[in-house]
């Protein structure tokens, strides 16, 4: 648990552990921590995936994640948001993105965490390439 106002908005090539952000967001006046982990699925629309390769525009990505944090502060008054996005080669089941939102009450924390991942997928410059089980490699380039 941290007492200061540290926030984490980070791009990393390291493996992300599911509890990596818990201590960063939790403070003594909080009662709720909502965490979202995006994980690598073994298929997309039924087509088998072998692994994913993520690429980023790192300098801009961290700034855009921070911007999502500012939006959340303005909308819900929630200060304690942390997010980390992994890039490089990821295997099935590994965490690509982890977002943690801590707040005194749970309703806001759920809304803010759901909003955070929606916004990340809109404005944070990270791309993934599907390495399909059939050997093909394709950038995933669609809004979602």
């Amino acid at each position: 648990m941290k007492d200061g106002n540290e926030r984490v908005y980070k791009i990393t090539t390291d493996r992300i552990e599911p509890d990596a952000l818990f201590g960063w967001s939790l403070k003594p006046h909080h009662g709720a921590v909502v965490t979202f982990a995006g994980t690598v699925r073994d298929n997309t629309d039924g087509r088998r995936t072998l692994r994913l390769e993520y690429e980023t525009y790192a300098e801009m990505a961290e700034a855009k994640m921070r911007e999502v944090g500012v939006e959340i502060r303005d909308k819900w008054g929630i200060e304690d948001v942390a997010m980390i996005h992994r890039v490089g080669t990821l295997e099935i089941g590994e965490i690509s993105i982890l977002i943690s939102v801590a707040a005194p009450h749970r309703k806001n924390a759920f809304e803010a965490c759901s909003y955070a991942i929606d916004r990340v997928k809109q404005i944070v410059p990270v791309w993934k390439k599907e390495i399909w089980a059939d050997g093909k490699r394709e950038w995933v380039e669609r809004q979602s």
Partner: protein, 85 residues
Amino acid sequence: MRIIVKCFAGCKDAVGATSVSVELPAGTTVGEAFAGLIESYPALGGYDRSVMLAVNRQYADRQAVLEDGDELACIPPVSGGAGPQ
């Protein structure tokens, strides 16, 4: 003036490089610069409607005017996070 163009994902594949340096007349807009890139790298044409363009790490309108030393980034639709929805 001279600007740096950064290319990612499919745009990078179309250009064949992560970064190129281009010489442009003063007053060139973001949109004009991208049109010029399509002339040099026709495979970029497929991104004309979907690409987002950023100047110095901020998303920019195509009407924005570039300045010497700017970093222009070609950003295909992003696909970070987890799968769709």
